[in-house]
Symmetry: C2
Subunit: 340 residues, 2 copies
Amino acid sequence: MAVAASVADERLRSTRASLDTLQALVGNDLSAVNRVIVDRMQSPVALIPQLAGHIVSSGGKRLRPMLTLISARLCGYSGTRHIPLAACVEFIHTATLLHDDVVDASVLRRGSDTANALWGNEASVLVGDFLFSRAFQVMVEDGSLEVLAILSNASAVIAEGEVMQLVTSNDTETNEADYLAVVTAKTAKLFSAACQIGAVVADRPDADAMALAEYGLNFGISFQLVDDALDYSAAQATLGKTVGDDFREGKLTLPVVFAYARGDAEERKFWRRTLERGEQTESDLETAIGLMAKHNALADTIARARQYGDAAHASLARFADSAEKRALHEAIAFCIERAY
Amino acid sequence: MAVAASVADERLRSTRASLDTLQALVGNDLSAVNRVIVDRMQSPVALIPQLAGHIVSSGGKRLRPMLTLISARLCGYSGTRHIPLAACVEFIHTATLLHDDVVDASVLRRGSDTANALWGNEASVLVGDFLFSRAFQVMVEDGSLEVLAILSNASAVIAEGEVMQLVTSNDTETNEADYLAVVTAKTAKLFSAACQIGAVVADRPDADAMALAEYGLNFGISFQLVDDALDYSAAQATLGKTVGDDFREGKLTLPVVFAYARGDAEERKFWRRTLERGEQTESDLETAIGLMAKHNALADTIARARQYGDAAHASLARFADSAEKRALHEAIAFCIERAY
């Protein structure tokens, strides 16, 4: 929320930011997206809509498709192409979640059993493949090679990011630059693509599409950094999420990178045992959280998130003031305030 | 090889069919495809070309991309668009192999360690996702929405087929129709798409593209049925493949469907124990092979493969005689003669 201070900003700052404005603006469009999602995840093979329905209806915020919807509206688009394309964005996201859960051997997501815990890894991989293919079918029906280019490129980069994350997992030598490369690829690229295609369907100049892509990229990095901090934070429990998932999986997120870099020999031994060798006891998560507090690791992660948030705010400068633009600003504020 | 008998056919029948004619005709194009494959599987994330290279270079015949190449040439195409598109077909195939190995927990493919045995399931899933995305990027560069439609549709159907296979696995009530639906979707659809896009790049009338799609579909079914028979056949060992993979994984392939349907109560108990409950002892594979011989299960599977091969031959009727057409006929013969 470090936008240039103005009276309006100060007023905004005094209330708690939420996604309410955004949701109100795209509400009808989002209902249409949800209908497309349910309609297009159907298959004569019953297990596919069953498993896909489990994850699709498991309470995600639909943040990514909302970004496509609001970006299109920001650009003055009044047609309906953004609806199925927003569904494509959610399908790609859902496919990566399904594959990610296999990768992480997660048992819970958003407080519910993961699909792979219920139906097995095999089904999760294959239904992910189906949703991914279906997304491309829907894009082909839309017929824009530019949209196809943006989302096929994003998909390849996401996969690269996930592989990078796999390689850096359990490696305490991971540094901030490595980690930012992972976050940019695995999370921010899809936020970026989601915003960009909103401008593309509105047939706006490249500079507008690039500005929205930039907004999405910085917002996505900010969003993931806050998520990573929340995983070690008590605030997380209030969101109905478990704390310590990343720790148990040995993920080298930015809070760990900070705590490790600033730790003494004894502390580094602790991180290597728990994250590299995966030898964890009951009290280790508490110790980890204590070390993060000692070294300001969470606060500094949030500070970085705020920097990327500022960059996202700045990317919107070229657009005239509108309810949609304010909603995009507030989404950043909401993302960062989750941390408190 | 049950083409209408003619002197030429009889001559062909007297020698052993091979892929030599096909390989000779598309040899230069295939070398170009291999260069595109190596070039486009690159990524700054080193594990991706490493893992992809392992499976891409593990001795596959490149049958599917060859079908794209020869189909384009059959249609008189003299350009180069079929080269990258053939690489896309191979990328999609490779991605499904990577995901399939995760699903089956296979340790060997073509006699080598599978990628997932060497690098873990996680990496196999993600590199599969990368290759799949990369295939769509390359198709977008080509710029044909028709090709994108054919291959995105094929990809969705393949995923449906793999899920169907998962559902029918370990279920001895699977019948021939169920099994043919699986084979058509998981294998034949990509053969079909591979052939069809050859006609599309050559800008031939729909009827030609449909005829080649039909050829590929029937050839693909035939090919998979022979594969399924070989998995219980001594001939398999001579191809450097292990025998009994499907049996160990509890796959309900056509040979099993036949043997189960024709078996007495005692035999059905055997199949339920070994395939449904997965309780297998050292000598069970031999018993299974014995039961297949008793009930002509392999011979009848090959007979079905031959029927689909006949349909594939017939699909080529509308094309004038040419070296390419003869190579497509011979590919069918080769596929079936593998069984002997």
